[in-house]
Symmetry: none
Subunit: 78 residues, 4 copies
DNA sequence: TCAGATAAAATCGCGC
DNA sequence: GCGCGATTTTATCTGA
């Protein structure tokens, strides 16, 4: 122990950093969309709520599917 | 008063949702990189710390470190 | 700058640590409840899902109230 | 098969929810302490770091710090 | 600039 | 012991 393959480590770190940069860039794009919408008279706060509610909806649907499956498993095990 | 252009609103919402989906996808890619690194013997926890350290603006980091140092000394922990 | 009231700082830190200890203790109590339920034949996984869904429900109700208020404000401003 | 004792289940769920409510309440208390400290001129961010440092098991902290150091040296960042 | 809300990151704990 | 998911904590962002 004590040896580290610096070349590989560096490559991994840089891949992560590149991906994080892309992610940040998309985050900026999202902000731009809200700004553009706002400039056209839409309320960004309301828009964010809508997006959030729609996200929760799909999340909840998934959860419900999961719990259904769990119930079936539980019954199947009994 | 009270009129909302639903067509434009819908388009904006969908653009945001598409971008958020891409963002999530990149997040998954990042997880994959860490997993791959781990499978080669690297410690993902430490790698994350490195990425985090590099991400922080060094100026602010030093500033905060100084305050922390001061507090620790005050508490007799340094 | 450079002076820190160590007495007050220490007191605050200790208050936080005491509260965190209580929080951890309650977390343990929760685990105990699940364990007890499991010993009586209930499925902890299913129970957690139920608790989670009920929590989401109240959260969603709040969010819907928020968005309603936002809409009203938006209309009131128009 | 398929029978569930709803009375007991409901009781367990409610015990969990009550405990979770208490936990949330203590979380709020902690936030209050930080707010009060801030109002007296302390830096909450730094205070959180101190609490975090004290919480960490020092043995494990040293272990991880060593690996981090090794990686940083390998990358030429140390 | 600050508080409050939102989202991201790190950590923790469970089940497999 | 490992991955996965939930929780918690941190950081960012928005609006006052």
């Amino acid at each position: 122990m004590g040896y580290v393959d610096g070349g590989h480590l560096k490559a991994f770190i840089e891949r992560v950093e590149k991906l994080e940069e892309e992610k940040r860039s998309i985050g900026d794009d999202i902000k731009d969309v809200y700004a553009e919408a706002k400039s056209m008279g839409f309320d960004p706060g309301v828009m964010r709520k809508i997006v959030s509610l729609r996200r929760q909806d799909s999340g909840r649907r998934e959860e419900e599917a999961n719990i259904l499956e769990l119930y079936l498993q539980t019954l199947g095990m009994a």
